[in-house]
């Protein structure tokens, strides 16, 4: 079936996707919360910035990230000082790139969910003596649960499928930054269509099963991204 190198790529991909989901859920929550309840021009500017990865060519984003995370870049040089390792062409760099690239897939479902929770219910919670933090955990979070599931699944699936940014920032280092989508590309490049077929089919089935199980679990709820 799969070669050891392909298994390595699969492991790296799953690890990357899982890390991205965990980090993004934590990071996207406050951002989505602010956007859901903020009014005015600056909130709309922030929304546009968050949505950028949806429309930007992955190579453009990957290029800027490479500049930013490279050993000479502002973030990359600081990381080298801190850890002795470079961010570009490393798994850590891949996680950062992946988080930025998938940001809208986490923020937008959460923002929709928080908007439908609405400030009215939060007022009710406040009038029942629940502090804002208490109201978040006891009212907003449970009501927005489906938004969280959607955000997690979309982020996960999007990370599985990403190619351009990964290649730009991570390169193609087996066992370290080579992910499934790059493996497929590599098999095609070397005209090993049989291996490409196996990986592509596996990825296709896996993605479908994940999405289907979420839709089944959520019943009538629809996954929405603007």
């Amino acid at each position: 079936m799969l070669s050891p190198a392909d298994w390595d790529a699969a492991r790296t991909t799953l690890l990357l996707a899982a890390a991205t989901v965990v980090i993004l859920i934590l990071v996207a929550t406050p951002i989505a919360w602010r956007l859901a309840f903020a009014r005015g021009r600056w909130a709309r500017v922030a929304e546009a910035v968050v949505a950028l990865p949806l429309v930007l060519p992955p190579t453009v984003m990957g290029f800027y990230l490479l500049v930013l995370l490279g050993p000479a870049g502002p973030v990359g040089s600081w990381w080298v000082k801190l850890t002795g390792d470079t961010l570009s062409f490393s798994f850590a760099g891949l996680v950062i790139a992946s988080c930025l690239h998938s940001l809208p897939f986490a923020v937008q479902p959460l923002q929709n969910a928080f908007e439908s929770v609405g400030s009215r219910r939060l007022q009710a919670a406040a009038s029942l003596r629940a502090s804002p933090l208490d109201a978040f955990f006891s009212v907003a979070l449970p009501l927005a649960l489906r938004g969280y599931v959607t955000a997690a699944v979309l982020t996960f699936a999007h990370t599985l499928g990403e190619f351009g940014v990964m290649l730009m920032v991570g390169g193609n280092i087996p066992g370290r930054t080579r992910v499934l989508s790059i493996s497929i590309f590599e098999h095609v490049e070397t005209l090993d269509y049989a291996a490409a077929h196996r990986l592509a089919a596996a990825l296709l089935i896996f993605s479908f099963v994940v999405l289907l199980s979420v839709y089944l679990a959520n019943g009538r709820y629809r996954t929405r991204v603007a």
């Binding site: 007022q123 009038s127 029942l128 003596r129 208490d134 109201a135």
Partner: protein, 359 residues
Amino acid sequence: MRLVLDLHAHRGDFELRVAEELELDGITALFGPSGAGKTTLLQALAGFLPGTGRIEADGVLWQDDRRSLPAHRRPVAVVFQDGRLFEHLDVAGNLDFAARRADRGGPSVRRSEVVAALGLSALLDRRVDTLSGGEIQRVAIGRALLARPRLLLMDEPLVALDRERKATILGMIAELPRRFGLPVLFVSHLVEEIAQIADRLVALRDGRTVGQGPTVAMLERLGAEMTGHFEAGSLLEGHVARHDEEHALTAVDVGEGILWTPGAMHAGVGERVRVRLRARDVALSLQRLEGVSIRNQLPARVLEVRAEQGAYAEVRLDCGGAVVRARITRLAVRELGLGPGLRVYALVKSVAFDRRLEV
């Protein structure tokens, strides 16, 4: 609770400007036409509008221009127009939400007592999205009480309900101050609701207070301009003299005479009740009439005749100290020769106060 307010809030073109001292005891109605600023005032009290001026309650500063006690630290609970129950919890869960966060320093409110007072026992296991409008509001009231507030704010809680349910829940609300030992501030634009339950009334119009005082006196003072022509009327206080079980009528002694009403069979003999007479249900006669179907004829003296635009005039009558209004045509005023001082009989159809009589 004594509130000292100096509020100023802007919402687009609308400006709320209220400098008033309110002594809240029993049920106080915040009354005014829609757009008068009632809800804005209530939201400021609840703590949802910081930076809108000064609020002091029993000597404690809730907010001024610089600071504001956040909503969750104010000893108030709110019953909203739309209930705002939490859908991820069942009815019992909604009640527990409030009970767990209750103010230990607030009036002691027992859960069993709340469940009994609002008839919630059959609802406890129900999901929130299976409740009717009336059930939602009863749960919302119960939930607010269990937070043990020192002041209960109600923002038109009955506006979405039909007549029957409204009457039931109004009766429950009327009991709250006595049963749970807390004052209620009740926002409404409906004279009917206020006339039934409010002890005192604060009138609001175009963002300003127009006055405050006992409900009966205030409704009299406000006049048709605020209360609306169709709703214009008067309140009489009296006590139940006797019941006519056979014909399902109750005699209410209002001082100057007896009013027969069909809506008060539940009240005990001797109990004090309030009867609301709408001006359009009162007719006038120069003599006591025989052979008519109208049961109630109260001797009265004309105080004033106010001609309105169009066909109608409003006649204010002194009926044994209480003021009664009658809305009749200007032609009738001329033909009967009505003027101040004239002795007349106010004729009231018994059905006129069906369901308008409450303790």
